[in-house]
């Protein structure tokens, strides 16, 4: 059963029927989606064209930090869904130069701290020391950011929190994160505004909150 058939079935289950013209519209969406998909895009896109902005050793640090933040457990983790490559694309195309510069400086700082505290590069540390160092940077950064007024302007978010933000974003919008860790229904078909937690799907957090974007 392809997705188109699945959607039609969902509409049928919900007691609705899709008229011939509605089906035609659905087909147009697929055609438009395919045309759109012809432009470069990917799930968690790889670095794409042009020179990469992270060296191999910098990439290794990003991967190690992302892995600590969302490891593989009984479900996939950040590395399984390609978070490091996602972070690199985001740095390259979504963030301005100033954020990139701060990110790379913070990354270096983590590595030099590893050297000064333990005499070894970050990625060479045993896991418990890596985790402790990430925790140390992380707790200091969230402590500092919590003190700031709730505004998004000029946050100057440091390396560790940019990595966390992007790991959360990349992971929970990935298919595995959205469907295996959280729960996701593409076409809910109905709305129940107030129900027992256990009756809301499988009771886990929805991957996409309706938020206030209406």
């Amino acid at each position: 059963m392809n997705r188109r058939e699945a959607l039609i079935r969902v509409a049928g289950l919900m007691g609705g029927t899709l008229s011939a013209s509605a089906l035609l519209a659905l087909d147009k969406v697929y055609a438009a989606g395919e045309a759109h998909a012809a432009t470069p895009k990917a799930t968690l896109p790889s670095s794409g064209s042009g020179p990469s902005i992270l060296s191999a050793s910098q990439s290794a640090i990003v991967s190690a930090v992302a892995d600590i933040m969302i490891p593989r457990t009984e479900t996939p983790g950040a590395l399984d869904v390609g978070v490091p490559a996602f972070i690199e694309v985001m740095l390259k195309e979504v963030y301005p130069q100033a954020d990139r510069d701060r990110y790379l400086a913070g990354l270096t700082e983590l590595d030099t701290t590893a050297s000064s505290q333990h005499g070894e590069k970050f990625v060479a540390l045993e896991l418990t020391k890596r985790v402790a160092l990430v925790k140390q940077f992380h707790d200091a950064a969230i402590g500092a950011e919590r003190q700031l007024p709730k505004t998004h302007a000029h946050l100057q978010r440091p390396f560790i929190l940019m990595t966390k933000e992007l790991t959360l974003l990349g992971f929970f919008t990935s298919q595995a994160g959205a469907t295996q860790v959280l729960q996701y229904v593409a076409v809910p078909g109905s709305y129940h505004g107030c129900q027992p937690l256990q009756q809301a799907g499988n009771g886990k957090t929805w991957a996409v909150e309706p938020g206030i974007a209406f």
């Binding site: 509409a11 895009k41 195309e93 979504v94 969230i142 966390k164 505004g193 129900q195 996409v208 209406f214």
Partner: protein, 560 residues
């Protein structure tokens, strides 16, 4: 009729253009419908079915996107990867901001009816009487009773989900079944009713919560909340799902995309407009089209641009601008002010489906016996839901603990955002600037408009009252916010060719006709004499349907 002659011309295919096209063609007029943007048909929504993992960049705009849409980016949402293609490239379509003015535009067939917020509220008698009562600006030339049957007509056709509440300041309409409030929203509703005597109602929104017999091409809402991408089910009202198909069905519509109307043709001997001049956005060719009646529905400032750019010996300062009011009285709803809170309890309650709607707190300030140190009032839109993974950014947890926390719905939060009425100020205006040209060689608009004391005083209440209600409900961490950003961000722009009783002080009459040239109607937001605080699109639609039927009658009686 010759090749370029029609009974009617409609400029624009958004919320109002679609309605003009439907009404005029259904009454038998051969109608040319022009849009400056590309062709889009219902179903041609490239991102509508993409899952989160199929959108690049985590759905955020890239630096290159921001370079092309810096104003749209001020909204914080419209130029996400899922919806950026519905908004203009601002490098090609520049304008001037003497004061910051957020002009968010969508140039395509369907216009911004594809991306609108869908909240649909009637205005009340209080709103139409406001200017006369307060002695400001000019009086509306119509009252609620003039529009009431047209609200009925529009709601019955587009489908509006909502609850009847018998509130004099927010008249009930023809409603489809309402959507449901969340547990916390129900709790808040009770507190606000008990302690303040104010209403909290489910939003009234142009979604089908039940089928409409007259529109079998439309399905019911599937609660995906991806509306801004275009709905493949046709569940919310847009020109593409509703009015343009109705117009097409008559066989009387000729729809021509890529057609930039830049000037009205005025015949001084006949004392009427005979047609429009069109620049083809693709070929650059200039063509004239002719008709007995012309509807400008090109969006508030789109229509204002055409009028300002249509100068002649008769109208040296812009078409129909004998009053000097054309381009003046620019309004929007002022927002970015309200409060949020953390809601203790309700941990065992959740919801299913993504409701494309929130709750609404109808205006209560300066209503009845309430009197404030400012004129008019505001409403709130808001919602309550449970925190999810983005809130974990500032959580101590990392690793397996972070993953586990993410699977457990977080605490409930509630948010109230105000929508305040902006008064019509003559000096809040938009003008044509010939010193700068867009990529088509046309002059650009320059905005010089901002909030004044009345709005700033109102905003104090908008933040204070929100916090007071949240606190009274027993919620914690109540935080107010008030980001004064200026006008435009409400995307409810209006007023620049206002209706009025007197040609000396207004551009349009009670039927949306240009006072000085009766076969030109302007029925988009430009016509508004005041702003009220309700979302305006439903009123634009009702005014358009009323004006179109008036035009048909006038043509029949040979009055145009």
């Amino acid at each position: 009729m010759g090749g370029n002659s029609y009974d009617a011309i409609v400029v624009g295919t958004g919320i109002t253009g679609g309605w003009a096209a439907k009404e005029l063609t259904e009454k038998g007029l051969k109608t040319l419908v022009l849009d400056r943007g590309r062709m889009v048909k219902h179903g041609e929504y490239p991102t509508a079915l993409l899952n989160p993992w199929e959108l690049p960049y985590g759905n955020r705009p890239t630096q290159e996107d921001l370079r092309h849409q810096p104003v749209a980016a001020r909204t914080g949402y419209v130029n996400a990867q899922a919806s950026k293609h519905w908004f203009v490239d601002e490098l090609d379509n520049p304008y001037i901001e003497k004061q910051r003015f957020d002009w968010v535009r969508g140039y395509q067939v369907g216009g911004r009816s594809i991306t609108w917020g869908r909240q649909s509220y009637r205005w009340s008698q209080m709103d139409f009487e406001g200017n006369a009562r307060d002695g400001i600006a000019v009086d509306w030339p119509i009252r609620y009773d003039d529009l009431s049957p047209w609200y009925d007509h529009v709601e019955s056709f587009i489908g509006v989900s909502g609850s009847a509440e018998s509130l004099p300041q927010l008249p009930d309409g023809k409603f489809l079944p309402p959507m449901e409030l969340t547990c916390v929203e129900k709790d808040f509703k009770k507190t606000v009713a008990d302690k303040f005597g104010r209403a909290v109602i489910i939003g009234r929104t142009a979604h089908l919560t039940a089928p409409l017999a007259h529109s079998p091409q439309r399905g019911t809402c599937q609660f995906r909340n991806m509306c801004i991408r275009g709905c493949p089910f046709g569940a919310y009202f847009s020109s593409l799902t509703s009015t343009l198909p109705a117009a097409e069905k008559t066989g009387n519509m000729t729809l021509r995309p890529n057609s930039i109307v830049y000037e009205l043709i005025y015949d001084v001997k006949q004392g009427r407009a005979t047609g429009v001049r069109v620049l083809d956005a693709e070929s650059g060719a200039h063509t004239e089209y002719f008709a007995r009646v012309i509807f400008l529905c090109a969006s508030t400032f789109g229509s204002t641009f055409i009028l300002l750019n249509s100068t002649s010996n008769r109208f040296p300062n812009g078409f129909g601008n004998d009053s000097g009011e054309l381009g003046c009285n620019v309004m929007d709803h002022h927002l970015e002010v309200g409060a949020s809170a953390l809601v203790p309890g309700f941990e065992d309650r959740y919801y299913s489906g993504r409701r494309p709607n929130g709750f609404y707190v109808p205006r209560y300030r300066n209503v009845g016996k309430d009197k404030r140190d400012y004129l008019r009032g505001f409403g709130y839109q808001g919602s309550a839901g449970r925190a999810d993974w983005p809130s974990l950014l500032h959580d101590d947890a990392l690793g397996a603990e972070l993953k586990k926390k993410a699977t457990e719905p977080g605490p409930w939060h509630i948010h109230l955002g105000g929508f305040g009425e902006t008064l019509p100020y003559h000096e809040n205006r938009v003008t044509l600037d010939h010193s700068r040209k867009d990529k088509f060689g046309l002059p650009v608009l320059a905005f010089d408009a901002g909030l004044k004391q009345n709005e700033l005083r109102m905003r104090k209440d908008m933040a204070h009252d929100a916090a007071e209600m949240l606190t009274a409900a027993g919620y914690r961490d109540v935080r107010t916010y008030d980001n004064v950003v200026g006008l435009g961000l409400g995307i409810h722009e209006m007023g620049s060719a206002r209706m009025g009783r007197d040609p000396k002080t207004s551009v349009l009459n009670a039927w949306n006709q240009v006072h000085a040239c009766k076969n030109v109607y302007v029925t988009d937001g430009a016509c508004m004499t005041s702003a009220a605080c309700q979302n305006p699109s439903l009123t634009y639609m009702a005014l358009t349907a009323r004006a179109a039927n008036h035009a048909v009658d006038e043509l029949k009686h040979m009055n145009l």
